[in-house]
């Protein structure tokens, strides 16, 4: 009798242990899932890859390290560096970077692309925002999944936030901004993780002698700084010409915005000031990050249609047209196409000014190409 009881106990203990083990293992797998970033295919133009920690080893083994894609031409020339996903809740930046990596063929000079510039911020979605963790883009061979991340470095990777953040220039910002990669440039080698990522990017720019940096973002449609190129004073002529060509030749009507001199820590301002590189930020409208939005889901990210923006646009409250021809909303294909076209035209205009260090490439789809063939057409099968 006692013996049977004992084996019964043993069995139930074993069952409990197994159940607990399963819960822990599944839970752990589920919990660490976000750390897997979307797969990116090395397109035919990719000649090598590397990591940001190759340039600043303080990042080695941290969630701030990220993969770099090099696309090099046969002929030497200038170097273009593209940041996608510096703010992972602005998905057109990531997708434009992926389109560049998987399609660009460089003939002269080099293009370096970083799709997950703040890799840590890709690992979670912002609390209370109901953002979808993933979204899908249909392709000819099925759908491809991408992560929708957060604006700030994960608090799991950098905690706690100070009460106030003092930028190296002495400028005072609210404490949370110390996890905003677009406020901490040029960074600090011995600083917090986000500052170290910025420092790593500066090291990359210095060591690779980068000539032009294009940092691709998105903004709330209600923000006055949207649909624009924000240019460092050193690149304002190139940006001005590019904007006029984009409007006249490519149906991409965007405008020039001033680069704030007093707000420190922003990529293009600090990169322009602290290196020889010319630097701009591109902004397209993303309704999924705007408080004006209705239901927040992957459809809003991809198709960008929302009754509230339509009404706001009709009431003249937003400065970005809600309709383009008969196409409604802010669909992501249009936003990505706008960015790829802008990268192309900015580079072409750069060449007119810097013929001693040209950067020439082909294969990059324009906005019209993407609208005609679909965004998925430009994604390779992982």
């Amino acid at each position: 009798m006692a013996k049977t009881n004992g084996s019964k106990n043993l069995i139930s203990t074993a069952v409990i242990i197994i159940v607990l083990l399963v819960v822990v293992l599944v839970g752990r797998a589920e919990f660490s899932k976000p750390y897997e970033l979307c797969k990116i295919v090395e397109g035919p133009g990719v000649t090598k890859t590397g990591y940001l920690s190759d340039y600043f080893d303080g990042l080695k083994g941290t969630p701030g390290d990220t993969k770099l894609y090099f696309l090099e031409g046969e002929e030497p020339g200038g170097t273009l560096l593209v940041f996608g996903g510096l703010h992972p809740n602005e998905p057109a930046g990531l997708l434009a970077a992926v389109v560049l990596i998987e399609n660009t063929q460089v003939d002269v000079g080099r293009v370096i692309v970083i799709p997950h510039t703040n890799a840590s911020a890709f690992t979670y979605t912002e609390p209370m925002q109901a953002s979808p963790p993933f979204f899908e883009i249909e392709t000819e061979w099925g759908s491809r999944t991408f992560r929708y991340g957060s604006r700030l470095t994960s608090p799991l990777h950098q905690y706690p936030d100070p009460q106030a953040y003092v930028h190296p220039s002495g400028m005072l910002l609210s404490g949370g901004e110390v996890r905003n990669l677009n406020r901490v440039f040029p960074g600090r080698p011995d600083g917090l993780l986000t500052e170290q990522i910025a420092w790593g990017l500066m090291e990359l720019i210095w060591q690779e002698d980068v000539d032009m940096v294009i940092d691709i973002h998105e903004a709330r449609p209600i923000n006055p700084v949207v649909n624009c190129i924000m240019a460092h004073p050193d690149i304002i002529d190139i940006a001005s010409f590019a904007i006029m060509d984009l409007g006249a030749d490519y149906g991409v009507p965007i405008r020039l915005e001033p680069s704030p001199e007093r707000l420190r820590g922003i990529t293009h301002r600090e990169i322009g000031d602290h290196s020889d590189a010319l630097a701009v930020i591109l902004e397209s409208p993303n309704p999924a990050m705007d408080a004006l939005r209705g239901p927040t889901n992957a459809d809003l990210v991809v198709y960008g249609q929302d009754e509230f923006f339509k009404r706001a646009s009709e009431a003249g409250l937003i400065r970005v047209p809600y309709f383009e021809g008969d196409r409604e909303g802010f669909p992501i294909d249009r936003r990505v196409g706008r960015h790829t076209t802008t990268v192309m035209v900015l580079t072409r205009t750069y060449n007119e000014f810097h013929f001693d260090k040209p950067i020439e490439f082909h294969g990059v789809p324009t906005k019209d190409d993407i609208i005609e063939n679909g965004l998925g057409h430009y994604f390779l099968r992982p």
Partner: protein, 199 residues
């Protein structure tokens, strides 16, 4: 016969006027400007850079100062205003829109005096080339400060969807050129300064 001819002339006039208003962009005679040229801002948006780079591309030498004051005008004969408000731009310059309105008013008052003293020598042109993004309350203050007082208005059509500039032009008898593309600003400048541009 005579009456018929008169009628014909009248009809031609009517037709010309109506066609004229439809295709006013083509019909407007672009006044010629004299050197030296100043490019400045009304509202501190960076659109003045667009005008500067296009003028430079044409081989024209321009003085570019978005914050120039009336005392610094010197011997400037032609002023090209880039109209459009930017809160960021004003903030960077450390001024508010009232300071900007005052600066613009003083410059325009001075140009009016000069025009009276030496007719045909001076020209003031207003460019609104930032589209929808340069509309709204802040931009309106710059638009109101400059547009009714210029000799020519050049406007990108995206910024005139509600006909604001058409109205201003009509009410103040100012010739208006509507551009399909911002880049077409170059054609306007080329014609305006044709005598100074080497081909």
């Amino acid at each position: 016969m005579f009456a018929k001819k008169k009628f014909l002339v009248f009809m031609v006039l009517v037709m010309a006027l109506s066609i004229g208003s439809l295709v006013q962009a083509e019909e407007v005679e672009i006044p010629s400007g004299k050197l030296p040229i100043l490019v400045t801002s009304a509202g501190q948006s960076p659109d003045d850079n667009m005008i500067r780079v296009l003028a430079t591309r044409l081989g024209l030498e321009v003085k570019h100062d978005p914050l120039i004051t009336v005392d610094e005008l010197g011997d400037i004969k032609t002023i090209l205003f880039a109209i459009g408000g930017s809160a960021k731009g004003l903030g960077e310059a450390g001024i508010d829109i009232r300071d900007e309105e005052q600066r613009i008013k003083e410059i325009l008052d001075r140009m009016d005096e000069l025009k009276e003293e030496e007719p045909g020598e001076y020209l003031v042109v207003g460019f609104h080339i930032g589209g929808e993004g340069r509309r709204g309350d802040l931009s309106q203050r710059s638009i109101d400060a400059v547009s009714p007082r210029v000799d020519l208005l050049v406007v990108w059509e995206e910024g005139n969807q509600d006909g604001l500039f058409t109205r201003i032009a009509e009410e103040n008898g100012i010739p208006l050129i509507i551009l399909e593309f911002v880049r077409d600003t170059q054609n306007v400048l080329a014609e305006m300064f044709a005598e100074y541009i080497e081909n």
